[in-house]
Amino acid sequence: MEQRLAEYQADFPIKLTSEESAALASACSGAQTVLRRIADRLSTVVESRDKAYATADARLTAVQKRLSNQSLDTSVIDAALIGYRKDVNSYNDALGLYRQALDDAVRMDCGANPAAFRSSLEAIRSYRKRTADAANTIKSFVEQDLSTAFATLTERLKEVK
């Protein structure tokens, strides 16, 4: 954890005055309680999201298998699956960083090192945004790219008939 805290300070350098440092040291334990609550709620959120993303993946994989069983071209669904999985992987990477930063901020001795705590807070905010952006990218992919892929597949099925 010490190494990650150093990385947060390198990536998000913070200069605190002695007054700011003292104020943060006295209030940070309350902030850690709030962060712990956010981290706990995030675990539930992640569970339902994992299920939703996995189910979508399974549905797409099933379409791929069924097309293959019918000896039909699978290139459209192949590309859709690759794109979808790439977006989900990006989301998982960002989420991992977000959760790790939350965990570090909750567990660290914030009173002893308020500057590192402030840097870890900035890391949490940055990784939260990255995670939200990645989740929005998945949503956009489903609404646009996947919709186009399914429209193409529908047309091809009509041609085969």
Binding site: V45, A54, L72, L121, K139
Partner: protein
């Protein structure tokens, strides 16, 4: 030559192995009739087995097993067909299901920036 090493001599009473044995034909058995009877009996048994199978639940169970083998449960709740031929209607339903699942995820709520402000954290 000592008696212990003397070659074994066939007793006088042993019948001559080279002479052909005469077998009396069994009276009253016709091989063709026996085979025919065996065939008829096996056909009757097969028929009884078939009727029993059709009347039992085994046929229904096999149909259920074949139906379920076409589907895959991802998490115990969602059942996904993986084998039956794909139709346009199927594609429409699958697309709607995926969109519904992903739309149900509230990105702005799950990853809310407002709960991480200094004020929200009491700083």
């Amino acid at each position: 030559m000592s008696p212990d090493t003397a070659p074994y001599k066939t007793p006088e009473s042993t019948p001559d192995q080279t002479s052909p044995q005469k077998r009396e034909p069994t009276q009253g058995t016709n091989p063709v009739a026996a085979i025919a009877i065996a065939i008829v009996i096996s056909m009757i048994l097969a028929g009884i087995g078939l009727v029993s199978f059709l009347r039992s639940d085994t046929k229904k169970n096999i149909a259920l097993i074949q139906q379920s083998s076409n589907q895959q449960a991802t998490d115990g709740n969602v059942v996904i067909d993986e084998t039956s031929p794909l139709t346009e209607s199927d594609l429409s339903q699958i697309r709607s299901a995926i969109e519904k699942d992903i739309d149900a995820l509230r990105n702005d709520v799950d990853f809310n920036a407002n709960e991480l402000t200094d004020a929200a954290l009491g700083l």
